[in-house]
Symmetry: C2
Subunit: 327 residues, 2 copies
């Protein structure tokens, strides 16, 4: 597999991105295409260029975190995001990973790759690992702030197919995130989505609550992108507090981690730490696009490349091509 990585995207780019990419090349034996400022990347990749399957594609421009997505990708055709997405389009890469401006990545993917036929709204599927036994996939983690019930049904379909391959389970259980488990609970969107999901062929478990997220009740958690983004970031904020407390305690950091592991909490803190998990997959566009946290360091980038590799191996775009036909 050939994984392109946005070396100019993210708060810790390019150093941490390149470090993560090198680790991924070693661990997954994938070909890595670093997309960014050519001369700088040559220096950073250094002798690894020869030892590993690393290559560089130049992209002289960078899109900042606070730029307006559409304007930015139009103004900067030689940005790492646009160049990376185009590598997918031209078949020169099998997946693209970026920790840059999420809106710009989504925008470039929608415009330059296009949507899979039948898919109305591509959505971000984010891995949630707060449970030792069963990780979940939350969709939509933030691509669509305003949704209609039929979009939610498609999120369930996209998420089910992805979960089947990523988690290796035959019939992933799908829960609809709501403010109560009863069928009558929910805002209008959730209530109407419940009815659509209930009569679909999906393994629909019904409504689930916020408490179910850490319990791993559902393999796939369906929600609109507004709620999904807030939930993911609430968990992240709590994870951050754990990290911060450890930092305040100075060299207690490692001791803190060891103690947490000692009381059986290591997995939980790890699952709440964006520095550990690999990112979210944009499902429904014609290409494998993984969006990483803007504050990703090497480990998260390595994990994101691992997810990109598994996504490309599963040929997920091909598998998603049936979505929307059933309606």
């Amino acid at each position: 597999m050939r994984i392109a990585i946005d070396a100019s995207g993210g708060e810790y780019s390019p150093h941490e991105i390149v470090k993560g990419a090198i680790k991924a090349a070693q661990e997954y034996h994938v070909d890595i295409i670093l997309v960014g400022k050519r001369s700088l990347l040559h220096v950073l990749a250094g002798k690894n260029m020869n030892k590993l399957n690393l290559s560089i594609v130049g992209a002289s421009q960078t899109i900042g975190f606070h730029e307006h997505p559409l304007q930015a990708i139009r103004k900067r055709p030689r940005s790492s995001i646009v160049v990376g997405i185009n590598l997918l389009k031209e078949g020169e890469a099998d997946a693209f990973v970026s920790a840059g401006n999420t809106g710009a990545v989504l925008c470039a993917a929608l415009l330059n790759l296009g949507k899979i036929e039948g898919v109305e709204r591509p959505a971000l599927a984010s891995l949630v690992s707060l449970n030792q036994s069963s990780p979940s996939l939350l969709i939509d983690a933030g691509a669509n702030a305003d949704c209609r019930p039929n979009h939610m049904l498609q999120f369930a379909e996209l998420g089910s197919i992805y979960a089947r391959y990523i988690f290796g389970i035959d019939s992933p259980g799908v829960g609809l995130l709501s403010n109560g488990t009863e069928e009558t609970k929910g805002n209008r969107l959730a209530q109407e989505s419940f009815r659509l999901l209930n009569k679909s062929g999906i393994n629909f478990l019904g409504n689930i609550e916020g408490t179910d997220i850490a319990r791993g009740t559902a393999d796939v958690i369906v929600t609109d992108g507004f709620t999904g983004n807030i939930v993911i970031k609430t968990v992240e904020g709590l994870g951050d507090s754990f990290i911060r407390v450890r930092q305040v305690n100075g060299d207690e950091h490692l001791r803190g981690r060891a103690l947490l592991a000692d009381v059986g909490l290591g997995f939980l803190v790890k699952g709440m730490d964006y520095r550990e998990y690999g990112g979210a997959c944009l499902l429904g566009v014609k290409g494998n696009v993984i969006v990483s946290h803007g504050r990703s360091r090497a480990k998260a980038i390595k994990n994101a490349i691992g997810l990109a590799n598994r996504t490309a191996e599963a040929n997920i775009c091909q598998l998603l091509s049936g979505v929307g036909n059933g309606q």
Copy 2:
């Protein structure tokens, strides 16, 4: 102050409720009115009846957790919830605390107490203590699944007034929960609410994200009841995981707690534990109503009674009577 408490509401009623009420009577020197099955409560309260200011008001019926709120309160006029709310209405209690069916409590409060003039949608204001230095108030924590922008503006007004008295700060900072900090972020509801909040006289900090909840960025977190409920329960579910892990480890429980306190995480786990925090206040009805978690044990009930006492002391209903006039 005279605090009525629903002794038949909650998973651990009546034993834990009575235990919590006795502790509260000792700690806060308030008069406690236990509302529930008279003979059973006499036995449970026992000799404390004479030592403390405890009294009993009979309520022979109980409303279950899964009953339809409106139907239940109509069918059971002698339920602890209806009797307790009526004590407020008749001026025989200054506040009412229930860990029973939240929907039924809201319904009984709306029907029997009525809304404060000018308030369109009473809302649940929940204390969030995930930060050592600054607790927050999240409103609406679940009373209104579907909201309009003017409801959100009122939540901000209600929450600001309550936070001023509960936290003792002059001008509480209000954040609007959204999927990004930029003004352009949000679903339609959040975007329109942003505009209303921005031109209101409130100390509006702008949009805040899920990550800000644990940071304590805002004193008052404004959101619709659907999102608010999911956020509160997501945090609770994570707290649950910590408890569960400790339980799996058997007698490691106490050791786990001590270790967490040792690394400076005690406050965080405490803030995520519904067994510690006191409940949410229903703001905008003509009476002081505190809703506790259905799984509250004695400590949470005691804390809820403490919150009820502070709410009644602040004469919060009187203070809220100006809300809605400014629009």
